[in-house]
Symmetry: C2
Subunit: 198 residues, 2 copies
DNA sequence: GCTGGGTAAATTACTGATGGGTCACATGGT
DNA sequence: ACCATGTGACCCATCAGTAATTTACCCAGC
């Protein structure tokens, strides 16, 4: 690469570039599978610059978490407010699809199962997951109570299953880049009706 | 540690011990999150012995894959033959629960999303996943065709969602060690009926 | 019944590569 | 001249993988 010296890119702009690259890399290969060097190279800069802006690998991942966490939470909240408090699953899914159509690996950043099990990173991830679960699974709770079940652990488990199901859809979408958000919505609509759930 | 020299443990027995430990470690922390040294320590032996028996880290993981792959495929096959070719999802789940009650991390070994994307390991995992999908999702295919949908990609996606849903249940179970296999079956029965699927 | 060697079961100590993280320094704009 | 932007080179821990060696078991032949 060329010599040192500024290239006319402001810190804020550079941070956005780095986070963009990092979200895709972390989403693809997971926290453990990505090296800071790799992110720096794909962003066209050197490793110390990443550290100068984000302090550590965890700091970089944390920035990604806040980026995609905010995106997803906002999308689901907006969908819920549009379709009333009894938001159906399909509306939530559709909102997620359009929100991440340009950044399809965003979801995986929040749902990497191999994160370091301690520290601030884990806490931030859990907070965002919790907020998504609280919103996305209000409908699930309705389902259960309507069926006469109100076991607390049942609710927990159903939440987990729902979030993993979304993960499955998102990963499948990553493997089928030709599919549009609208097509994904239609596909999920077919699946949901075939399953008999509204 | 003590000196060198045999401790009166045969190779076959030692291999079983190592694979047992490795399945748990790999299931907990994923392929990338486990070092061969850690497996050796938890098995009470030294690293070179692991290499002498399994050649490489991939070789060790491969042994784990065959172990749990065989276990799971056999369990699902038996459940299917018991409940006729139109095996319901609940029977499959119950068979899985009892099969892995003593090794609850087995499923995660087959469904680690961060495996090295090339090589024999990936192929073996894909084979076992494929066999499980073919059996477990025959019922899903019925669901879709009965609802009038026969899109090939829809089937693919539904398969993925089903397998991720099982992953979710298995991970939840790992986090709730007090639950028995029977309780898990009952819980999943409640969830399935609440969802309206049979 | 002892002895001695062949072999299986083990270990300590190394190597080479990679990855997180740091330092001293270089460059460009204002 | 100053500060933000930017880099090459380095440090240290860890990890996959590999000698070289050491100990215990087993079984011939005397």
């Amino acid at each position: 690469m060329g010599k040192a010296g500024t290239k006319g890119v402001s810190r804020a702009e550079r941070e956005r570039q780095i986070v963009d690259v990092a979200v895709e890399e972390f989403g693809r290969h997971g926290y453990a599978g990505v090296s800071v060097t790799a992110v720096a190279q794909r962003a066209g800069i050197s490793k110390p610059l990443v550290y100068s802006y984000f302090d550590s690998k965890d700091g970089l991942y944390l920035a990604c978490v806040h980026e995609v966490g905010g995106l997803l939470v906002d999308a689901v909240a907006a969908a819920r407010s549009r379709s009333g408090s009894t938001g159906h699953a399909l509306d939530t899914l559709g909102a997620l699809f359009t929100a991440v159509e340009q950044r399809r690996h965003a979801w995986s950043v929040l749902y990497d199962p191999a994160l370091p099990p301690t520290g601030e990173l884990r806490d931030a991830v859990r907070r965002y997951r919790g907020r998504l679960a609280a919103m996305g699974a209000a409908g699930a709770a309705q389902l259960l109570t309507r069926a006469g079940h109100d076991d607390r652990l049942d609710h927990e488990l159903l939440n987990d299953v729902w979030q993993h199901a979304v993960t499955a859809v998102m990963r499948w979408w990553s493997d089928h880049p030709d599919q549009s958000a609208a097509e994904m919505s239609a596909r999920c609509a077919r699946l949901l009706t075939a399953l008999g759930a509204g």
